[in-house]
């Protein structure tokens, strides 16, 4: 990358990081920041347009404050991202390391399993899982976690296969280092950049899938504040109260865009350092 491009990449990186930090802070401090209770209904204020006193981003069909619901919705979105990526990473680590270290038939069997999971369209598989295990955010998180595990298992396996032939790993082995130390000290820290990049990308995808499932009525259940659910609700009033769809849509778009961009930028910046 050229120096100017690198500077531009750094500025973009800090902008996205800034957005993500603000979003996370807002989600964490939702009770302090939100102007109103996200569940509080106020029927006289139904469909109050953005800019109305006490309703900066307008009110929905029950007179609930859209801004407050978006701030609380960020909690749901980030929680889903964190938990499902956490689950996917945990499963991926176990499977990827096992496959990469053992190789042979175990490797083939595990990777076949992972390919089988990957071969289904993500949302379709999520719908199936949620339909079997019931609706709700917890089920959605578990489903996304399992469905995303191949994304991690595959890169962790590939990295394990490469790194285990690195001379320093061979050296450590020749000095009698136990396997668990080799994994903890030599393998994981050196594959960390790739895992981090994958985490941000998976995080963005998880938010999209949560929103999609909630939109279909399979994820968050009313009256829970969730961006996907807000969109679902807004589709009945697209022409009369377009702000009901616009703001949650913007929140989803910006957040997903930021995490994707963060992934790309980290990828490039970490590669330069290699």
């Amino acid at each position: 990358m050229k120096p100017q491009t690198e500077t531009a990449a750094r500025i973009l990186l800090w902008l996205t990081v800034g957005y993500i930090v603000v979003l996370s802070a807002a989600a964490a401090a939702a009770p302090l920041l939100a102007p109103a209770d996200p569940l509080l209904q106020n029927l006289p204020a139904r469909f109050a347009p953005p800019g109305s006193p006490a309703y900066p981003l307008g009110a929905d069909d029950f007179g609930r404050d859209v801004l407050s619901r978006i701030i609380y919705g960020a909690r749901a979105a980030l929680l889903v991202g964190l938990v499902s990526v956490g689950i996917a990473l945990a499963i991926g680590l176990v499977i990827g390391l096992t496959a990469g270290l053992l190789e042979g038939p175990v490797d083939s069997a595990l990777m076949l399993l992972m390919d089988a999971v990957l071969s289904f369209p993500t949302v379709l598989l999520a719908i199936t899982v949620v339909s079997v295990f019931g609706y709700g955010l917890a089920q959605v998180m578990a489903a996304i976690g399992v469905i995303f595990s191949p994304l991690f298992a595959r890169i962790i396996r590939a990295e394990t296969l490469t790194l285990k032939h690195e001379p320093y790993v061979m050296s450590a082995y020749a000095l009698g280092t136990p396997l668990r130390r080799i994994v903890a000290v030599h393998l994981l820290p050196n594959m960390l950049p790739k895992i981090v990049v994958q985490c941000t990308v998976a995080f963005a995808l998880a938010i999209v899938i949560e929103a999609s499932l909630s939109f279909l009525g399979l994820g968050a259940q009313p009256p829970q504040p969730s961006w996907g659910l807000m969109l679902r609700n807004a589709r009945n009033y697209l022409f009369d109260a377009p702000w009901l769809a616009f703001y949650p849509g913007l929140a989803i778009g910006l957040t997903v865009f930021s995490f994707n961009l963060l992934g790309d930028l980290l990828n490039e910046l970490l590669q330069i350092r290699r």
Partner: protein, 340 residues
């Protein structure tokens, strides 16, 4: 074939009729075809040969570092324990603690994400069960011992060090547990000439101060002169000559050794063509019958192409332990071939 006297108290490591073959596409690749080496305590035994002669493979076999496609035969005796038949767990307890290894490319043998101090301390922590803080203290004195500034280097990352410094770090972690045997696999090949001699001097100090026996692998015969006590010259997986360093350099008893010594650049003969050995090392999947060196040997006779010469004591040996694997060892007159 002569074998080393049993129960030799000074011998720490003995390779006995070691063979290593790899499964290859066109049949087995026989990389090591019967090697006997005795490493005496606190001595340096150099294993010299061209690429593909089987020197690194033999060394890796000692610590069980060969890939799964390798099959080993013979015995590798560490004191009286056969390392080849040892369970993995027991072998791991020996690796790094009683037999350690230093490798060729110091650049690649340190973990780039880990501070140097922690890497050296690592060995102490699991072999001696020392806690982190104490291990770091010991790592610092080890770094001082290999002539680095322990206080500074302890907190550095590998990329902040030069190649020579990295090799010193590698040596520090190798000697951390005061091993009885140190296997040095071309430790100076990636370094420039001045650093090379410094590292050799350091290894020599390790041998004297810790009493560590060193199995020194090199493709550079002149390098081991004056450093090694004993030298084994390998060619195509077999030892062709084995002698003390002094004997070997005073007079070769095998045409291969002789040609190797003759191929050394000599400042006194500046401007002349170097005496290269014509031809190349045989394909390990297709080693010629008889003497493997015969196709390149200036002395080769019909017998050499049929009958494998055994490694035997030369009849005109000046000292009893010197061996050569040439049918015509007795006819090699010292200096005769050099000038011819």
């Amino acid at each position: 074939m002569e074998s080393t006297p049993r129960g030799d108290p000074a011998a720490v490591l003995r390779l006995e009729a070691l063979t290593v073959s790899f499964t290859g596409n066109g049949g087995p690749i026989r990389a090591v075809r019967g090697v006997d080496i005795t490493l005496q305590a606190a001595s340096v035994h150099a294993l010299v040969g061209e690429s593909g002669a089987g020197k690194s493979v033999s060394a890796k076999a000692v610590l069980g570092l060969l890939p799964r496609s390798a099959t080993c035969g013979g015995r590798i005796l560490f004191h009286d324990t056969d390392l080849l038949s040892l369970p993995a767990r027991s072998l791991r307890a020996i690796r790094g603690k009683r037999i350690a290894m230093v490798f060729q490319q110091p650049d690649k043998h340190l973990n780039p994400t880990m501070r140097v101090g922690s890497q050296v301390a690592e060995v102490l922590r699991y072999h001696n069960g020392i806690e982190r803080r104490e291990a770091l203290l010991q790592a610092r004195s080890l770094l001082d011992m290999v002539e680095l500034n322990g206080r500074e280097v302890l907190r550095s990352f590998p990329h902040e060090l030069s190649g020579g410094m990295k090799q010193r770090v590698a040596i520090a972690s190798a000697i951390a547990c005061r091993p009885e045997v140190l296997i040095a696999d071309e430790p100076t090949t990636a370094l420039d000439a001045t650093i090379q001699s410094q590292i050799l001097a350091l290894l020599d100090r390790v041998r004297r101060e810790l009493g560590t026996a060193i199995l020194f692998i090199s493709h550079d015969l002149p390098l081991v002169r004056g450093f090694a006590d004993d030298v084994s010259v390998l060619y195509a997986g077999r030892i062709v000559e084995q002698a003390t360093s002094r004997e070997l350099f005073s007079c070769a008893h095998h045409p291969y050794t002789d040609r190797l010594i003759a191929a050394t650049p000599d400042p006194a003969r500046r401007g002349e063509r170097l005496a290269a050995i014509r031809g190349s090392v045989p394909d390990p999947q297709d080693v010629p019958p008889g003497c493997a060196f015969a196709p390149r040997c200036p002395m080769a006779a019909d017998r050499c192409r049929v009958e494998v010469p055994l490694l035997r004591l030369s009849e005109n040996a000046d000292v009893s332990q010197r061996r050569s694997a040439c049918h015509f060892a007795e006819q090699l007159v010292c200096e005769g071939l050099h000038n011819g």
